[in-house]
């Protein structure tokens, strides 16, 4: 892996962000709008004397935004490359798939740090909710959210690569398919039996369960952290393997040069 080529991928994203402000919508507009909406709901819940429930809702949306943004950014950045017809010129250069992915993931990481700062301040100023109430566990929650965001994003990218840009809308819609099982706003225990089993296999459901545990007790649930981390390592490995396999397959069937 050559760092100059990873730098080129990052540089391209930087230049594109300057010219297309809509690319930065995902950094501040959508997260802030989600937070505003859930912030008012939480404020109402506070008024009916439930600070704990309000914290659950706000904490839930703030952690969900981290996962959703990092996951969507991977698919979206690839879709932009497809729409710009940039795939052929990029892969006709010495750039490798690993370097392309590494650069894309780094850009996503920088964007999510910006998002977290923005929504953190918004929640503190307008809703009197301090995300750091989650303590040092917050960083550990984020690690698992970012890892699953990468795994899920790479999985979606593989589908778009294999089946073409007609699957582009999956970039936005697929995370919402996970939302009920991820138990963002309610505990896994309220789900029907079979859904609870599915939820166990979704790493971020352990993150949200862990967040609720921390808010209720002030302690960090390491068992949930390790379960989420273990699942993330497996999913990340599987999604990278899928991407490598799909990349080989689209080079074999000629689909790579036809992506539009």
């Amino acid at each position: 892996m050559r760092l100059n080529r990873v730098y080129a991928v990052i540089l391209r994203q930087y230049f594109l962000s300057i010219h297309q402000m809509d690319r930065l919508f995902g950094v501040f507009f959508f997260p802030t709008m989600s937070l505003v909406l859930w912030g008012f709901i939480s404020k109402y819940v506070q008024q009916i004397q439930s600070n704990y429930l309000a914290a659950l809702l706000l904490g839930g949306i703030m952690l969900w935004i981290v996962f959703e943004s990092i996951d969507t950014d991977i698919g979206l950045s690839f879709m932009w490359d497809v729409w710009e017809g940039n795939i052929v010129n990029s892969f006709a250069s010495p750039l490798t798939l690993l370097e392309y992915m590494f650069g894309t993931l780094l850009v996503g990481l920088v964007k999510i740090i910006m998002t977290v700062v923005i929504i953190g301040f918004t929640a503190a100023i307008f809703y009197n909710f301090n995300i750091t109430v989650l303590g040092f566990g917050l960083a550990l929650f984020w690690i698992n959210l970012v890892l699953f965001g990468w795994a899920f994003g790479i999985f979606k990218l593989s589908l778009i690569l294999r089946f073409g840009s007609r699957l582009g809308p999956l970039t936005w819609s697929l995370p919402f398919l996970l939302m009920p099982f991820a138990a963002v706003y309610y505990p896994v225990s309220v789900l029907p039996g079979i859904f609870q089993k599915i939820a166990w296999f979704i790493p971020i459901s352990h993150v949200f369960e862990g967040m609720r545990y921390t808010l209720a007790t002030g302690k960090f649930d390491f068992a949930k952290f390790y379960t989420a981390m273990g699942l993330n390592i497996i999913f990340l490995f599987l999604s990278v393997m899928l991407l490598v396999w799909v990349f080989g397959a689209v080079r074999k069937n000629g689909q790579l040069v036809k992506l539009r």
């Binding site: 050559r2 100059n4 080529r5 730098y7 080129a8 540089l11 391209r12 230049f15 594109l16 010219h19 297309q20 710009e84 017809g85 940039n86 052929v88 010129n89 990029s90 892969f91 006709a92 250069s93 010495p94 750039l95 490798t96 080989g248 080079r251 074999k252 069937n253 000629g254 790579l256 040069v257």
Partner: protein
């Protein structure tokens, strides 16, 4: 080299060399397999049989090392639509590991006479200007092997004439090997020292433009006439 898509054989036992410092014309009707061959050389499409050796090295083993010294341009793929000319060339200079890239970018912008457009987005350029920007990208790393797949398609004769003169000049100065496809036979006659004709995935004729004119058209002439050679080859099953 062999490449199949299901039952269809797009490239069927094609074998040729591009010599150091030569411009090889790569011709054939639509669907002959030229572009597929170029994609296989670049590793964008995986071949089913045979091998690609660039600078004597196996492409499959030394992909990134080889591609640092190769470049490609096609009218089908413009540069990144929403970046300026300068930003595009900077990104590609980094991808190709060009040291002192600012000087190289400036030099190419001057050669192709688009220095005044360097801050314009690609999407705001005319077709001819975009082609010149794409050619700047193609020369950015001073490639030892340049693959040009109909780079001047759909351009007016004046722009083509200037483009050809520039390609000739840089190719001579930087002593690069070029594989050049076009449906405009005049371009090939201007540029190529040798020509490979493909049809139905196979090489059907090979030689200098003049040799091919004599052999395929069975004419005694001193002027090449690749247009007639092209038509003859495209309309007959087996050529010379």
């Amino acid at each position: 080299m062999v490449k199949r898509f299901g039952d269809y054989t797009a490239v069927n036992g094609v074998s040729f060399d591009v010599k150091e410092g030569e411009i090889l014309g790569f011709l054939g009707p639509n669907g002959a397999g030229k572009t597929t061959t170029i994609y296989c050389i670049l590793g964008l499409i995986e071949k089913d049989g045979g091998s690609v050796k660039v600078f004597g090295k196996d492409f499959a083993k030394y992909r990134s090392e080889i591609l640092e010294q190769v470049n490609y341009s096609s009218a089908e793929f413009t540069l990144i639509w929403n970046l300026s000319v300068w930003e595009n060339l900077t990104v590609f200079a980094k991808l190709y590991g060009v040291s002192n890239y600012k000087t190289r970018v400036k030099e190419l912008l001057d050669i192709f006479e688009i220095a005044d457009l360097k801050n314009k987005l690609i999407r705001n350029l005319s077709f001819g200007q975009r082609t010149r920007a794409s050619l700047c990208k193609a020369f950015i790393n001073k490639p030892k092997l340049l693959l040009l797949d109909e780079p001047m398609a759909s351009l007016d004769p004046d722009v083509v004439d200037k483009g050809i003169a520039l390609i000739k000049r840089i190719q001579k100065e930087e002593k690069m090997s070029v594989l050049y496809t076009s449906h405009n036979m005049w371009e090939i006659e201007e540029l190529a020292t040798d020509v490979v004709f493909m049809n139905h995935g196979k090489i059907v004729a090979q030689g200098s433009p003049l040799e091919l004119t004599k052999r395929v058209l069975k004419l005694e002439t001193k002027e090449p006439s690749l247009r007639e050679v092209f038509i003859e080859i495209a309309r007959t099953k087996n050529a010379a």
